[in-house]
Structure formats: C-alpha cells, structure tokens
C-alpha cells in the first residue's frame, strides 16, 4: 500500500464508501474497538468493506502508557480481529487511556520521563510478540506537557528505537504540537526516525484559543499542514497515507477533494511507488484469495 491514500472507515460514511463513487480511497482504516465482536448489520458492512478494500487498523484502547497491566483478554480478541480481516498495518497511540483501572476513552499525554520510556517499551514489545506483527505507534497531539523531564522528540525517538517498533507519523499532530508548544515543526520532523515510519496520518483541526489548537478530526486539512506533509514525504520512502475525519461529513465532495489533493502530492514526490489504486486493489484481493485457499 506504499504511496496509497486511504480514509478512516466511519459508520456515518460507510454506505457512501461502499456504494457510491463520490469517495475513492485506496484503502480503509478501521478502529478495531468499534467493530470487534459486533454482529448484525454492521458486521455485514465490515465484511463488505474488507472484501472491497485493503485494510489497516488503528487502535484506541491498548493504553500503552498506562500504569495498569495490559488487558490480555482484549489483546487476544484484537489478534483474532486483525487476523480475520487480514490487516496489513496495525497502529496505536503513544498515550494512555486508562487510569485506576477505569477506561477514559480519550488520549492522555504520558509524562516525558525515562521511567515512562522504559515502561512503554516493555509493553510495546509484549504486544508485538503476542500479536506477531510490528506495532506502529503514533505521535499524539497534546495540549500541555505533564511533569516532563525530557523533550517530546527524545521521548518518541527512544521508544521507537528501544521497542524496535514502527512509527505512525501524524503530520497534523506535529503541526498542532508545534503551534501549541512553540517549536518548529520541520525541525521536529527532521529529528524523527523517518526510516521507521510505516504509515502517515493527515487530518484537520480546530483553533480554540489564540495559542491553542485542538486535534479534532472534524475539519478539512489546512494548507500549512499540506505544506508540512509535502516537505516531510520528500525526506522518506513511500508509505500509506490516511485521511482522518471523525465527524462533519456533510460534504463528501470536500472529503474527496482532500483525498485527491493528498494523492497529487504523493504522486509528485513518490513517483516510483504508486501503482494505480485499481491495480493495487486487484493485487490485494488476489493475495486475499491465495491466503484463503492456502
């Protein structure tokens, strides 16, 4: 899927993706928590989507940074889901979503500290071993540091190196964090382990205060984020690129124009990589059939 541009598979636009020609992503990304263990109508929709498109998964609830034990029952179910859907890339957030054994359902920032690095590295290794696949961890947006003793770039880079995992580079998150915390986004990306990037996320955001942006996934991508994306991909090998949109689906044409814009940037700089989406899809489906008959 290198150099291909996909979209997050949300229920609100599932029909449009499956039935209309307005949206033409190359692949789909599922949040496994929103589909695991689900039967009925949505199970049929999931199966249809998996038949039609290559799939990546982006987890929400592993809570890699939590003090609590990993939830092995959940991880066992997750493995089944990833295998069943022949997921090519599985990613998660470098954050925590659980505290005092209570799920919080949003991403809290891990303190940038050495003990947290060591703790998260251990957990990523455990998860990778169990899932028998590499994990790509996402640099998350954050609105305040918490008890930091090292920089964000040191924190992320050391975890990726020690855990021997992959990186999901969220370009919008870098932009948001650079704005919120007053650093240079290009300099930050230049220091990231770009050779470990397996996947890129792009999204819109919302400025809520003069000095604060919230990563909402509810607005179109702004030009400076496209610029940062273009600057970034010239410094790395082709990987899949995902457009994240969680709500405000009123204008599908607007979403398609974002996909088209991303594809045009990708095509400009990653000339060697992209097969056409149709060709890639045929290959993916062929691989799927081979797997089924193996």
């Amino acid at each position: 899927m290198e150099g291909q541009v996909g979209i997050g598979f949300r229920r609100d636009i599932s029909q449009e993706i499956l039935e209309s020609s307005v949206l033409t992503p190359d692949f789909l990304e599922f949040a496994p928590e929103n589909w695991m263990g689900m039967g009925g109508y949505w199970n049929r929709i999931r199966k249809e989507a998996v038949e039609k498109y290559p799939v990546t998964c982006h987890g929400l609830s592993l809570s890699l940074g939590s003090p609590e034990e990993l939830d092995w029952d959940f991880i066992r179910e997750l493995k089944i889901f990833l295998d069943e859907n022949q997921v090519s890339i599985f990613s998660e957030h470098l954050s925590y979503t659980k505290s005092r054994n209570a799920h919080l359902y949003d991403l809290l920032p891990i303190p940038f500290r050495q003990d947290a690095v060591d703790h998260v590295v251990d957990r990523i290794k455990q998860v990778q071993n169990f899932l028998e696949r590499p994990l790509a961890i996402e640099n998350v947006s954050y609105y305040t540091p918490v008890a930091a003793e090292m920089t964000e770039i040191e924190f992320v880079s050391e975890i990726v190196e020690k855990a021997e995992c992959k990186l999901l580079l969220d370009v919008n998150n870098v932009y948001v964090n650079a704005f919120n915390h007053g650093y240079d986004a290009r300099e930050f990306i230049g220091k990231m382990p770009l050779d470990k990037v397996e996947y890129i996320h792009m999204a819109g955001h919302e400025q809520v205060e003069p000095d604060l942006i919230i990563d909402t996934h509810g607005q179109p991508i702004i030009d400076p984020v496209y610029d940062l994306f273009e600057w970034t991909i010239q410094r790395m090998d082709p990987v899949p690129v995902l457009l994240e949109r969680d709500f405000n689906f009123n204008e599908l044409e607007e979403l398609q124009s974002e996909l088209t814009h991303l594809k045009s940037i990708v095509k400009k700089h990653w000339k060697a990589a992209p097969e056409s989406s149709e060709t890639k899809l045929l290959v993916a489906n062929k691989n799927r059939r081979s797997h089924e008959t193996a």
């Binding site: 109508y41 949505w42 925590y96 703790h119 008890a147 809520v208």
Partner: protein
Amino acid sequence: MKLHKETEQIQHLLGDYCRNGIEQDIPGLTPGRVHHYRRLVYNVVKGAMDTAFPITLAALGEEQWEELVQDFFANDFPQTPQIWKLPFEFYRFHATRETGQRIRQPYLEDLLYFEWIEIEVHTMPDRPYPQVLPHGNIFIDRLAFNPEFEIIRLDYPVHLYAAEKASEMKGDYFVLIFRTPDSGKVQFLNLSGINTYILTRMVEEDVPLNQLKGDIAQVSGIESGKYLDDALEKFIGDLMEKQLILGFLKE
C-alpha cells in the same frame, strides 16, 4: 514495573481530574490548558450516553441527565475498552445504586435497560441460523426460530407509554426484542404473560406445539379446542409475519 510510583501517581491525578473534574495538583502543566482534557474526555462519554439513551434523556431533562452521567463517570470504573458497550455499564451502575428510587423516577432502571437492549440485540454477535423448510404444520412440526432475540421483563411499560405515564402502571410486562434477518433492524413486540410462557416453552424445549397444548390450556385457563387452536394459530402467524419464526425445522 519500570514506572516509578511518582510518575504513576501523576498519571492517576490527571485521570482523576478527567473523570471527576476536581482540580488536582499536577506538576509541570502549561497554565490554563489542562481543563481541555476534562472537557474532551467528558464529552466523549456524555456523547456516547446521549446517543444510547435518547428517551431517558428526554424524560429526565438535560440537567438531571447530566447529573447521572457525571455521577457514573466520576464513581464507576468503566471496564470495557469498546465505548459502544459502555451504555450497559451505565445502566448497571444506576440499577445497582437504585438511582431511580433516589431521584423519584421509578421507571428509570427499566427505561435504561430497554434502551440498552435495543443496542445489544442490534449489535450482538451473529448466532447460527437453523435450516428452514417454508411449509409445514404449526401444531405437528417443530418451528424454526430466528435465533437473534431476547425476552425481557419490565416493572413499568416503558415500551408502550411515555415515562411519566408508565411510572403509574407498575406490573409485569414482557417484551420480545429481535433482529430482523434481512435488514438487521431491531423490532419490539409486547407479549402477554401467556404468550411469553408459550414462546419460552417452545424455544427451550424445541418440541411441536401439540406437545405443549395441554400445559398451555392449564396455564391459560382456556380449554383445549378450537378457540385455543385459533389463538395459537394467530400468535404463531404473527411471529412468522414478523420473522421471529422463519418456518419449520428439517427433521
């Protein structure tokens, strides 16, 4: 564990603040920013509960509803990693605490359960369907049931009436909830006590209706005969039309 106690404690303080909104002494924050975490986390949970329980929200009004959501999120320890299952934990929390009695809305537990069960039946894992014959005799052949259904018992008829009226009608109510095979949509059917009895026996014992007629006559007080046969035929016909009964089992 490699995480130091101090770091763990700091993480819990931020988590506590997000759950209950009570300010904590968290080191190293940028001033004026941390409240966004409370807002974002709480909005996710509130949004999920609003979506799951629209009838309860409307019955209680925004203010009282908000108190229930705050109470739940501050004092419960949500266990599911899948937020679409969280409404069940919300129902269970308030049922265990008898919140309905405390706020003088006695129907609350039933209404939360009724709204949750719609989600549960709509999303529950697929169950294996039986092989079905389209033709047969409803009295002598075994019936093939749509396996994706639940029967619940309520104290208040929240499935029939608005909450205020339902709260004045305490009794024994039974509701059949099932997933339609083709569309996956959820249907509800109010059941009388005797029809609940008949349906439960048929499903649990998997025998032809004729074998149950004696017991049905005894429980219902209706003599076995044409009147009872007609009533059973109508009941089974309704269930077939609604696709709870799909046909007849292959012997």
